[in-house]
């Protein structure tokens, strides 16, 4: 092949590639979550070779409800957002935030085997999901599956998890929308709110406070997620609110100096990760986080 012909072929290839790119960017769906978060994530990358892709994760509302229950949190339906409020949310941002709030409340009521409350909160999530154009995540078949598995909490949690997964995937399909991020924020804030409110009224609250301290890492991921969408409508104030909570966490040594170790039980072959882990909050930090969580959560449910 001579060089002129090669140049011509490469030129043709570039032209076709550029055309494909143009068609893709005008009419197709989002690049993956990973690529959107990539540039704002430097914590790990700074320590070595920068990864080409970085993904995002925070604990699901179901997991947060599980760990809070184990820490001694009791069920108090008065702490949850009333299902009656669902019709108050008219803007897309308030629908997305409260889809997260109701998703967390659905998780709490299910973890504590409050079947009727779970159905009520599932109906709330369905209404808001419908309002955001998400179909198939929380639908009639979900209700039927929950009804058929009402005595089996593990199955119920699987069903809810599947619904969250479908809902998150649908929300992420629109790259210009902040709905996915707001939904995640709503769920996280509701979890923090419930934890701090219960800690305030529980005598032996040491384990609950430890769980609240352990949320520092997920808050960091949440801030990175919002920063990657900070130009979208309504995101700047959400970012300010989250950073205000983050600065309270950063006042102390909430992250601790962990030193994990991996061991395998020779009899059971069960692998465990243990080792040093110290997550603490001072009384002053806890009070400030409690106040901030209450204020932010109440502004979300009244929006």
């Amino acid at each position: 092949m001579n060089s002129n012909r090669l140049k011509k072929q490469i030129g043709t290839a570039i032209l076709i590639s550029a055309s494909t790119l143009l068609i893709y960017s005008c009419g197709s769906k989002a690049p993956s979550e990973a690529k959107e978060v990539k540039d704002s994530t430097a914590t790990v990358a700074d320590k070595g070779k920068k990864p080409q892709n970085e993904f995002f994760t925070i604990p699901s509302p179901i997991e947060l409800a599980q760990i809070m229950k184990r820490a001694g949190v009791i069920y108090n339906k008065d702490l949850l957002n009333s299902p009656k409020n669902v019709s108050n949310y008219s803007s897309n941002n308030s629908k997305a935030l409260n889809l997260g709030v109701y998703g967390a409340d659905l998780s709490y009521s299910t973890i504590f085997n409050q079947t009727q409350e779970s159905v009520n909160y599932l109906n709330c999530t369905k209404k808001l999901a419908d309002g955001l154009g998400i179909t198939g995540a929380f639908d009639e078949s979900t209700l039927k599956r929950m009804d058929a598995n009402s005595g089996n909490s593990d199955s119920l949690l699987q069903i809810i998890s599947d619904s969250f997964s479908n809902s998150n995937d649908a929300l992420k399909e629109n790259p210009q929308s902040s709905n996915f991020a707001l939904c995640v924020v709503g769920g996280w804030i509701e979890g923090l709110y419930i934890g701090t409110q219960v800690a305030k009224t529980t005598k032996n609250n040491t384990d609950i406070i430890t769980r609240i301290a352990e949320l520092k890492g997920s808050l960091k991921n949440l801030v990175m997620l919002i920063e990657s969408r900070k130009d979208a409508e309504g995101m700047a104030s959400v970012l300010d609110d989250l950073k205000a909570i983050q600065s309270i966490y950063n006042e102390g040594n909430a992250a601790g100096d962990s030193k994990p170790t991996v061991t395998t039980d020779s009899k059971t072959n069960v692998v465990s990760i243990g080792g040093k882990s110290s997550f603490t909050l001072s009384k002053d930090q806890l009070e400030k986080i409690t106040l901030k969580a209450e204020s932010l959560r109440n502004s979300i449910i009244k929006s």
Partner: protein, 143 residues
């Protein structure tokens, strides 16, 4: 342009656009081939999936809570070849590598830890220049 050169051109065009056209197929692959293998663990509800090429390096950081049992699964299309994953502590030290364990790993968390899952696809010299495929990092939990 002869048939051989047309084939080269098609491969060049496809290779340059694979990361873009693969997103929908990637999500479909994760739903059908990966998530079902998480049971009996509850999937965290967030699907982290992307089309990667040979030699890519990807990370995800997360808090793992004491008292919980976890399953980490790195699920990838066969076209990508070997995909390795490491679990690293906050100091970037590797505390687990999946070599000899397959694509999933179950463990119990006795103390709360902030860990990073690092995923590395085989380099191009090992896997060939045209290798790409969907990779998903899934995290499941149970009490």
């Amino acid at each position: 342009m002869n048939l051989k050169n047309i084939s080269k051109l098609v491969i060049l065009v496809l290779a340059s656009n694979l990361p873009l056209i693969g997103s929908a197929q990637c999500n479909s692959f994760v739903k059908s081939k990966c998530i079902p293998n998480m049971k009996p663990y509850i999937n965290s509800g967030q699907t982290n999936a992307s089309t990667l090429i040979a030699g890519d390096h990807t990370e995800i950081s997360r808090t793992f809570y004491s008292g919980q049992n976890y399953r980490i699964m790195v699920c990838s299309q066969a076209s990508l070849g070997d995909v390795k994953f490491n679990l690293k502590d906050a100091g970037n030290n590797i505390i687990f590598s999946n070599k000899g364990y397959g694509n999933l790993w179950d463990f119990k968390c006795e103390t709360t830890q902030e860990l990073t899952i690092e995923v590395i696809t085989a380099s191009s010299s090992d896997a060939g220049l045209d290798k790409s495929g969907c990779v998903s990092i899934l995290i499941g939990f149970k009490q």
